[in-house]
């Protein structure tokens, strides 16, 4: 479910940009970036079983 969240936020952001809602679109862009970064944070650490 949470994987949809960046796309829902992104879609709302794009709609906000198209409709000219600057403040809302900027806030939603920040939220999209934060959610994407948070999700990507799960992959930053290398698992112990994966030998590099």
């Amino acid at each position: 479910m949470f994987l949809y969240l960046p796309f829902i936020l992104a879609f709302l952001t794009v709609l906000g940009i198209a409709l000219g809602w600057r403040t809302l679109s900027n806030t939603l862009w920040l939220a999209t970036m934060a959610v994407t970064l948070w999700w990507f944070g799960r992959y930053v650490s290398v698992p112990s079983w994966l030998s590099l």
């Binding site: 994987l3 949809y4 960046p6 796309f7 829902i8 992104a10 879609f11 952001t13 794009v14 709609l15 940009i17 198209a18 000219g20 600057r22 679109s25 862009w29 999209t32 970036m33 994407t36 970064l37 999700w39 990507f40 799960r42 992959y43 930053v44 698992p47 079983w49 994966l50 030998s51 590099l52």
Partner: protein
Amino acid sequence: MLNGLCLLAVSNCLIALLYTEWFLREPPCELYMLQRAGIILTGMGFMKNLCQGVKSAHYGVALLGALLTGLIALRQLWMQSAATTQSQPVCLFAALFALAAIVVIACLLGLKSAEYPGTLLLLQTAEAAEEKHGMPWGRILVCAIFIAAVAVTLFGSMINCTSAACGAGMLERLVER
């Protein structure tokens, strides 16, 4: 003009990723989806330039999105190369497409900065002088294509990325194989 081209490149990249998922049966995974989110974030900067006027901050938005996408794509390629026991690539198309999109965007931005040597501020003033004639149908069309691509990506993620397909994540899938 250049912003429209960049937005078209981003839209084409999204459509190509949808094509690989639906027609080439490339299985979705979390990093694959995150790269799409990063590509959309990149496109937002160009769309802001088209809809709200050219600003340096909008180029910053696009650059941040491109950096995030590149980071995710490189991480995926690194994990792919690290899993040496795997014979089949996992979501490799997505990483390659994302890197290709970044190269295209970087080339276009480089072209623009070469055209107007200097900083992004110069780039901004150079485009602000453009005159507007009538209804900007080209901008509307390019923005509509991007919005449609984002909507289809959202729809596709809700349809294809079920808990069975995406819930396990890439690491677990590498273990299972």
